[in-house]
Symmetry: C2
Subunit: 207 residues, 2 copies
Amino acid sequence: MFDGVALMPRIAFWYDFASTYSYLSAMRIETLAVDRGISVEWRPFLLGPIFKKQGWETSPFNLQRSKGNYMWRDMERQCSVLGLPLVRPNPFPQNSLLAARIAYCGRNEDWIGAFTRAVYHMEFALGEDISNPELLAALLVELGAPAKRVMNEIETAEVKIGLRAEVATAESLGIFGAPSFVTEHGELFWGNDRLDDALDAAFMRFG
Amino acid sequence: MFDGVALMPRIAFWYDFASTYSYLSAMRIETLAVDRGISVEWRPFLLGPIFKKQGWETSPFNLQRSKGNYMWRDMERQCSVLGLPLVRPNPFPQNSLLAARIAYCGRNEDWIGAFTRAVYHMEFALGEDISNPELLAALLVELGAPAKRVMNEIETAEVKIGLRAEVATAESLGIFGAPSFVTEHGELFWGNDRLDDALDAAFMRFG
């Protein structure tokens, strides 16, 4: 029984701005969730520190050439089906730290969905450098967000430490890749292929 | 235009008997393919040598604990949806060499589909040891296959070298995991989640 906003089920969306498959979910999740009466909890985080613990200094798609080649072909096919543009960022992966700090600042603001989509669009549709602070600040201005305040906030220890803590929280939830989705009951789903299943699960308890 | 068996499209199904997600595809692919007028080319192979080149001495699901935990939960959910039983083989992964050699011998025989399903059932439904030659020979007998001849053949250099060559062929096709599906036009799909897409693609040429 859901008889109010307070009881609207939520899905946590864990994403890294450098992640290709996160792009596919980020562009769609808010629309799909709203259609089902589910609210999205935006959880930007960083995969880099998690990969480093595995001894990986870059994306597994770079470390394993055949897996990387496959991923780009699969992305072409998926983007074609979903009607999304796709360019390969250069370099890949992009440095997502700055964008993640901004998104962390804005995670509960009304501009977070639009900002998230704008960064992914900049990266995977336009091929622009998402580590460029001027481009990111310009995006915030465009979205009517308090750009100056946010760009100052991301330099504070609070934000830097806060984002690191999000990585630790992700690990404690069992997250090892992105995109990941976590229901209010702690059910974890990994990968854009599981977005629909995750939204279905937002309404139920798994056994 | 398909006006005869000779022009029936084919899909190559590359599988390792130790692979959890290959189980999900193996139990379904023949039925799904027949429904669509597609013939299945059974390509048993070994992921071990491919993983070893990455420096991995066991399954990535063991090397990355959080990924392994997730995989088992995801398998529970997927098996539940597909109506398939699931037990965790012990040890995991199972040694799939002997089963792969038998399947390689029988890859063009009419018992290959039934044998493949029987091994996966033994492993993931009954929790039995698929490296046990007596159990494998008994399966062949049950299926009306020439058990004695096959069990002798798998000890020949021809079969041992032939299966190794299949691993090299898999690599040359860009395969890095299982299950993988390859269309006649060389389009590669990885993972049980892509089985339907692969069958769709068996009928077309990708750009």
